[in-house]
């Protein structure tokens, strides 16, 4: 097979031009290969990241260059109840949504790990919520949460007769907070399930057979084989999930825009409201920068998750 893909002898013998010879000079080739990726990332990621930190210490507004004002933005945020509210809801949203996603996603992964007909079709279907653009499914949730025509209210009031009035999902703070979390969990389940399913499939069946022979119950097999074997991948997927849930923007912006009475602002939506919509670039940047300590913490968590994985595999394996 490899023979057919190799260049024919005639091509190989032709004297390579000076450009080809230049590309054979390995350091040059390495630089050329890395240039596009590193260039893009430097100009549109590293530089803006630094610029963002700088902006956080200035009073820049849209259309006007700011001057350095030190920690004033952060001092202001410290006294701003809206910022504290956003910090609270970001942490709350991340904690509950991550817990929900992992509990349900792990369960779904265990279910999908069984043998049944149409397994691959089902796996494909299950991924749909993750594929479809978040804003578009968020709009569907917005309609599902409609105060008057919510299908959930209809089920509870007119079909099941559990309640007598419609639920005001998005009009009052706590129901709105939980409505958003439910939508976030719905969207997050597929990714968690498929990733964990991949992890489940790497566990050797002989471990389970051995445990069965020793008379281990299903719970014991889960507790002493599945869970420890899954720890490394759980740690990685959870880190990703925490980072992207904490910095979520689309879902909240599409469904509540931070309302009612600013009760559902995440740090990202607050930063957008102040920075882009309100024009206070410096203050918005400060809000965005205030997410960084949390993200660093989550990344360290990921690092130790990976370290633990190396330790589990043993040194010879790496």
């Amino acid at each position: 097979m490899s023979v057919t893909t190799l260049p024919s002898r005639g091509v190989a013998l032709r004297q390579p031009g000076w450009i080809a010879r230049l590309f054979d000079y390995k350091p040059f080739l390495i630089v050329m290969c890395l240039a596009p990726a590193i260039g893009l990332l430097t100009v549109f990621l590293t530089y803006p990241l630094g610029l963002g930190v700088w902006l956080a210490f200035t009073d820049t507004t849209i259309g006007q260059r700011g001057i350095f004002i030190g920690l004033e933005n952060f001092q202001y945020l410290w006294t701003d109840p809206l910022w504290w509210g956003a910090v609270f809801y970001s942490v709350f949203y991340t904690a509950i949504a991550t817990f929900g996603k992992f509990a349900l996603g792990f369960w779904l992964a265990l279910l999908l790990n069984n043998h049944f007909p149409l397994k691959s079709l089902l796996r494909a279907i299950v991924l749909l919520p993750w594929i479809v653009p978040t804003v578009l499914s968020a709009l569907a949730f917005w309609w599902i949460y409609d105060p008057q025509f919510s299908i959930i209210s209809y089920l509870l009031v007119d079909v099941l007769h559990i309640r007598s009035t419609n639920i005001d999902f998005l009009g009052t703070p706590w129901p709105a907070r939980f409505s958003l979390i439910a939508a976030n969990i719905w969207r997050g389940i597929p990714f968690v399930a498929i990733s964990l399913l991949a992890g489940l499939q790497t566990i050797s069946p002989s471990l389970y057979e051995a445990a069965m022979l020793d008379g281990a119950t299903a719970w014991q097999r889960f507790r002493y084989i599945t869970l420890p074997m899954m720890m490394p991948i759980l740690a990685i997927v959870m880190t990703f999930s925490i980072i992207f849930t904490f910095t979520d923007f689309q879902l909240v912006y599409a469904i509540t825009r931070g309302g009612p009475v600013n009760s559902t602002h995440l740090l990202a939506t607050l930063a957008f409201q102040r920075g882009i919509a309100g024009g206070e670039l410096g203050e918005g940047a400060a809000i965005a920068v205030s997410m960084i300590p949390f993200l660093v913490f989550a990344t360290l968590f990921s690092y130790f998750g990976l370290a633990r994985r190396k330790w589990q595999q043993g040194e010879a394996n790496d």
Binding site: A20, L34, P36, L40, P133, V135
Partner: protein
């Protein structure tokens, strides 16, 4: 020998009731099929609701007393017609497609070369370059969009789809590079060595041997990039102002949501149509998709 066999048989005997119970059909239905059915129902319901709303006439849409909300008695194409002919929806679709394809090709180009350099050319510090690119994936757009907006203005790209094409690779390149490094790893080194011995240049090796063998990886990286750029919201919201240059997710939210009475039919039709390209594209390559996802996670 016989001792061990006897031991095994007693153990097997003691394990039998448990296995039997597990294999019994009723238990299987309760433990696997029923929860699975619930999951599928809940995960798919919003799409069903989206679809059914798109084809319902307004009279049925807001009247649950006389019409069963879960079904359509007289389906209509009015919402879709309104969307396609009375709004700029086709333009938004075109812009989104242009942006998604552009950023996908740019990211594939950059990340293929980067992954090749990191995994195949092996230089001092290549693992650190790899780690650096991987870490870039962990920098979320919500931190970057404010300073990026000023960078985009400086470049004179504000309100232009080109801005999105250039900015999306910041989250696509790390992901694709990571994925492609895994793919390049799976291609045997010996193939390249043989070609080197035969006198092929490095570029010939990349073009004629490594790339053709990495095609499945390129396809899955392409699908990921396409879906992620179709999905992207915050940059498109922050950098694009004029209606015609908006991408579908942003345009639906900012241009179609007007007034106090929401046009639910048109909104849901827009969401449905906006989801279809990604869903279709993805269903064509679903095997690559799932296997590369599981493969990437295994790495």
């Amino acid at each position: 020998m016989t001792d061990a066999a006897a031991q095994q048989s007693t153990n097997a005997a003691s394990a039998t009731p448990d296995t039997m119970a597990w294999d019994s059909r009723a238990r299987r239905v309760m433990m696997i099929y029923l929860p699975l059915a619930c999951f599928v129902l809940i995960l798919l319901f919003p799409f069903y609701w989206m679809a059914i709303t798109s084809f319902k006439p307004n009279a049925e849409l807001l009247n649950y007393k006389q019409h069963n909300p879960f079904w359509i008695s007289s389906p209509t194409l009015a919402h879709i017609k309104h969307l396609l002919f009375d709004t700029a929806y086709p333009t938004w679709l075109k812009t989104t497609m242009f942006v998604a394809i552009g950023s996908t090709f740019l990211s594939l180009f950059a990340s293929t070369l980067a992954a090749y350099a990191i995994e195949r050319l092996r230089f001092r510090g290549s693992p650190y370059v790899g780690l650096g690119i991987y870490l870039a994936y962990l920098v979320p757009p919500s931190i970057l969009f404010i300073p990026l907006a000023t960078v985009i203005v400086q470049f004179g790209l504000f309100d232009s789809p080109m801005a999105l094409i250039l900015v999306y690779p910041t989250f696509l390149v790390p992901f694709c590079t990571w994925l492609l490094i895994g793919y390049f790893k799976s291609i045997p080194y010996e193939l390249e060595e043989c070609a080197l011995v035969d006198g092929a240049t490095r570029l010939q090796i990349l073009r004629r041997i490594t790339l053709p063998l990495a095609v499945p990886g390129l396809i899955s990286a392409g699908i990921f990039s396409f879906t992620l750029s179709w999905n992207e919201f915050i940059y498109a919201l922050a950098f694009i102002q004029s209606g015609a240059n908006k991408t579908v997710p942003v345009a639906i939210l900012t241009e179609l949501v007007t007034g106090d009475v929401y046009q639910w039919g048109a909104l849901m039709a827009g969401s449905l149509l906006g989801s279809l390209p990604v869903a279709l594209f993805y269903s064509l390559f679903v095997d690559y998709y799932v296997s590369s996802l599981t493969g990437a996670v295994k790495e």
